[in-house]
C-alpha cells in the first residue's frame, strides 16, 4: 500500500464486482485450455447420447424379432454403407445396422455406453474414497503411516491384471446369486477395479497431507481444540481436493479401459449384455464382413477415454496455482 492510497482511502476504485471465488478462477483458467474444452463438449455429447438417447431412439437393445423377421432383418449394414456399396443391405429402421440376431446396433451402442460409463464413474468413486481415506490417515496419524504405506507398496507390487482376471472368476457365482447375473457382475467389476486402483491417489494425498500438517492454520485449528476428525474434514480435505480431483478424472479413464479389457477378454459382463468392451469382443470374429460393429464401440471407448484424459490435463493446469492467473 502506498502512502497516497493510505492517506486517501476514499479515492480507491471501488470494485464493482465481488471478488471471484477460487472455483471461478479455476473455471476461467480451465476455459483457456482449448483441448479440454473441446473434450468436455464431446464428453457431454457422449454421456447425453447414452443416457438421454434411448428416450428418443426407442429400439430395444435386447429384443430379438420372431424367426422369419429375424432372418430378414439381421446383419444389416449401416445406412452410410450404401454410399459406396449400392448392393449393401441397409434398413432405415436401423441407422447403424443390426447384429446377427437382428438387434439394433445403435440401441446396443447406447445401452453399452450407459454401463461402461457407470462402471467408470462408480469404480473411480470407490478408488478415490479408498485412496483419500488411506492417504489422509497415513499422512495425518503418524502411527498409521508406516503400516498403511507398506500396504500401498504391497498393492503396487501385485500383478493386478492377472489377479483381477482370477478374482472376477472366483467371486462371480456368489455375487450373481446375491444381485442377479448382470447386477452381480456390475458389483464385482466395480469393486475389483476400485480396490486395485487406489494406490496412486493414496500416495499423492499422503504427501500433500504431510506438508499441510506443518502449516500454521492447522496448528491454529489444533490450538483452539479442534478434534482430529473435524480438523481433517474442515481444514485438511478441502486443501487436498485438487490432486484428488485430477486423479479422479484420470481414474475414470483407467476404469473404463479396464472394464472394456475385462469384457474383451471374456471375463466381464455375460454375453448378450451390451457394454462397449463386450460389443467389441462379440464382433471381432466377423470384423471382416462387418467392420462397423468393431469400429463404433472401439471409437466410443477411445473417444471417451481421450476426452477424459484431456479434461484431466486441463484440470491439472487449472488447479495449479502457479499456472493459474498467468
Amino acid at each position: 500500500m502506498t502512502d497516497a492510497a493510505h492517506n486517501s482511502p476514499l479515492s480507491d476504485p471501488i470494485p464493482d464486482k465481488p471478488p471471484r471465488s477460487q472455483w471461478e478462477e479455476v473455471w476461467s483458467q480451465f476455459r483457456r485450455h482449448r483441448g479440454a474444452m473441446i473434450s468436455l463438449f464431446i464428453l457431454v455429447v457422449i454421456v447425453a447420447g447414452t443416457y438421454l438417447g434411448p428416450l428418443i431412439w426407442r429400439a430395444d437393445p435386447q429384443a430379438i424379432p420372431s424367426t422369419l423377421d429375424m432372418i430378414k432383418q439381421r446383419d444389416a449394414r449401416p445406412i452410410y454403407t450404401s454410399i459406396w456399396d449400392s448392393g449393401a443391405k441397409v434398413q432405415w429402421a436401423n441407422p447403424l445396422g443390426t447384429d446377427n440376431l437382428a438387434r439394433d446396433n445403435l440401441a446396443r451402442l447406447m445401452y453399452g455406453g450407459r454401463v461402461s460409463i457407470a462402471v467408470g464413474l462408480l469404480a473411480m468413486a470407490l478408488s478415490i474414497v479408498l485412496g483419500a481415506l488411506v492417504g489422509v490417515l497415513a499422512g495425518y496419524f503418524r502411527r498409521l503411516d508406516s503400516p498403511l504405506m507398506r500396504l500401498t507398496d504391497l498393492f503396487l507390487a501385485l500383478p493386478l491384471l492377472p489377479l483381477i482376471l482370477v478374482a472376477s472368476l472366483l467371486f462371480r457365482e456368489p455375487l450373481s446369486a446375491a444381485f442377479g447375473v448382470e447386477g452381480g457382475t456390475f458389483v464385482l467389476i466395480v469393486s475389483l477395479i476400485g480396490i486395485t486402483s487406489w494406490m496412486q491417489t493414496a500416495r499423492i494425498v499422503r504427501g500433500d497431507v504431510l506438508a499441510l500438517k506443518e502449516r500454521e492454520f492447522v496448528l491454529a485449528a489444533k490450538s483452539v481444540g479442534t478434534r482430529p476428525g473435524r480438523l481433517i474434514r474442515r481444514h485438511v480435505l478441502p486443501n487436498v481436493l485438487s490432486p484428488i480431483m485430477v486423479s479422479a478424472t484420470l481414474g475414470i479413464a483407467t476404469a473404463i479401459i479396464t472394464e472394456s479389457a475385462l469384457s474383451f477378454l471374456g471375463f466381464g459382463f455375460p454375453p448378450d449384455f451390451p457394454t462397449w468392451g463386450r460389443l467389441l469382443n462379440d464382433s471381432v470374429d466377423r470384423m471382416v464382413s462387418f467392420p462397423e460393429r468393431v469400429l463404433w464401440p472401439g471409437l466410443m471407448i477411445s473417444l471417451t477415454v481421450l476426452c477424459v484424459n484431456y479434461i484431466g490435463d486441463g484440470l491439472r493446469d487449472a488447479l495449479d496455482p502457479r499456472i493459474r492467473g498467468r
Binding site: 483441448g35 507398496d153 504391497l154 503396487l156 507390487a157 501385485l158 500383478p159 493386478l160 491384471l161 492377472p162 489377479l163 482376471l165 482370477v166 478374482a167 472368476l169 472366483l170 457365482e173 479413464a253 479401459i257 472394456s260 479389457a261 474383451f264 477378454l265 471374456g266 471375463f267 468392451g277 467389441l280 469382443n281 471381432v284 470384423m287 471382416v288 467392420p291 468393431v294 469400429l295 472401439g298 471409437l299 471407448i301 477411445s302 477415454v305 481421450l306 484424459n309 484431456y310 490435463d313
Partner: protein
C-alpha cells in the same frame, strides 16, 4: 549404494513371499475341480487317488510350502540338470499343470520366447521412437510438431490395445493384406526368408505395443526435457559458447534421461501385463495367452506360477529403477 542395494534385495524376499501367499490364498477359494473333465465311468475312489496325486485338497500349510519348495528348489535343479546333464532333480515332484499333466515350468519355458520376442522388440522400437520425439517436441515447444506430437501421444495413450490391435488388423491385414493377422508360432527362423516372414508377422503386435510405450514415454521425456531446458546451467553452457547441439544433446539430454531411465525400468512389467491383451488379439501363444487359458480352465498351479512370475518382474524392476536412480543422480543418497 551397495548396502542400499543389498538391503532392498533382502527386503524383496519377504515381499515376494507375502505376495505369493496372497495369490495362493486367493486361488484357494477357487471353486474348480481338476477332475471335472474325467469321465463319469471312472470310479470315485480312483478319482480320489487322482486328486491326491495332483495334490488337490491339501491343507494350505502343506500345499503352500510345497509349492515354494517346488518353485525355488526343484525347478532350479531341473534347470541345472538340463544345462549340465546332472541328475539332481531325479525322483523329485515338480509342480504339475492340471490341464496338461506336464510340469508347469516346462510349458512356461516353451511359451516364454514368443512373449520375449514381441515384448522385447516392442520395447526397443517404442523407446527408439519416443526419446527423439520427446527431445524434439520439448526443444520446439508449442511448434506444429510439438502440438501434433502431443495430440498423437494423447490418442495413443487413450486408445486401448484391444481396439488399436483390431483396428490395425482391419486396415493392414484385411484391407491392404500386407501383414498376417495371426502370429504363426511354429515358424522356425533358419533362413533369410523365414526371418523376413518372422519380421512380417511381428510387425502388427509390435506396432500396437510400441504405440503405448511411445506415447507414455515421449510425454515423460518431453516434460523432463522442458524442466531442464529452463535451468541456469543451460544458460551457462550457451553463454560460454557451446554449440546448440552440444547444449541440448549432451548437457540437457543427460540430465533429462535420469527420470526417463527409471521409467524405462518401471515399464518392463507394465508391458508384460499389456502383452496379455495384445497376445490375445494377435493369437500369439505367449505367457499372457497361457495365463488366460489357464484361468479359464481352472489350472491353479499354472495360474499361481504365472502370476508369481509377474509379481517377481514388478518387484525386481522396481528395485532396478530405484538403484539406477541412485546411481545416475548423485544428489540422491539412500544411505
Amino acid at each position: 549404494m551397495l548396502t542400499y542395494t543389498i538391503r532392498r534385495l533382502v527386503l524383496a524376499v519377504p515381499t515376494l513371499l507375502f505376495i505369493s501367499l496372497v495369490i495362493f490364498l486367493l486361488l484357494e477359494l477357487a471353486p474348480g475341480d481338476p477332475m471335472a473333465q474325467v469321465p463319469l465311468t471312472v470310479p470315485a475312489e480312483v478319482k480320489e487317488q487322482m486328486r491326491e496325486a495332483l495334490g488337490v485338497g491339501q491343507p494350505i500349510w502343506i500345499s503352500f510350502p510345497k509349492w515354494l519348495y517346488q518353485f525355488f528348489v526343484i525347478e532350479p535343479m531341473v534347470m541345472i540338470d538340463y544345462y549340465f546333464g546332472t541328475s539332481l532333480s531325479e525322483g523329485q515332484f515338480r509342480a504339475i499343470s492340471w490341464q496338461t499333466r506336464s510340469p508347469v515350468m516346462d510349458i512356461v519355458v516353451q511359451r516364454l520366447p514368443q512373449t520375449l520376442w514381441v515384448v522385447g522388440v516392442a520395447y526397443i522400437v517404442g523407446f527408439a521412437i519416443a526419446i527423439p520425439v520427446g527431445i524434439y517436441s520439448a526443444y520446439k515447444q508449442y511448434s506444429l510438431f510439438d502440438n501434433l506430437g502431443t495430440f498423437i501421444t494423447m490418442v495413443g495413450f487413450s486408445v486401448p490395445p484391444f481396439f488399436s490391435g483390431v483396428l490395425v488388423i482391419v486396415i493392414f491385414s484385411v484391407q491392404l493384406g500386407w501383414f498376417p493377422s495371426i502370429y504363426d508360432t511354429t515358424l522356425v527362423v533358419n533362413s533369410w526368408e523365414s526371418f523376413v516372414k518372422q519380421l512380417n508377422q511381428m510387425f502388427l503386435p509390435v506396432m500396437v505395443l510400441a504405440l503405448q510405450i511411445t506415447s507414455q514415454t515421449s510425454r515423460f521425456m518431453r516434460s523432463s526435457m522442458l524442466d531442464n531446458l529452463n535451468q541456469d546451467y543451460v544458460r551457462t553452457a550457451r553463454a560460454k559458447g557451446l554449440r546448440e547441439q552440444a547444449v541440448v544433446m549432451v548437457h540437457v539430454l543427460r540430465n533429462s534421461m535420469i527420470p526417463v531411465i527409471t521409467v524405462m525400468a518401471l515399464s518392463v512389467p507394465q508391458i508384460f501385463g499389456g502383452a496379455i491383451i495384445t497376445e490375445q488379439v494377435f493369437k500369439v501363444n505367449g505367457i499372457g495367452q497361457l495365463l488366460i487359458t489357464a484361468i479359464q480352465a481352472n489350472d491353479l498351479p499354472m495360474v499361481q506360477t504365472l502370476t508369481f512370475i509377474f509379481a517377481v518382474l514388478i518387484v525386481v524392476f522396481n528395485l532396478i529403477a530405484d538403484v539406477l536412480y541412485g546411481l545416475l543422480d548423485p544428489r540422491i543418497r539412500y544411505d
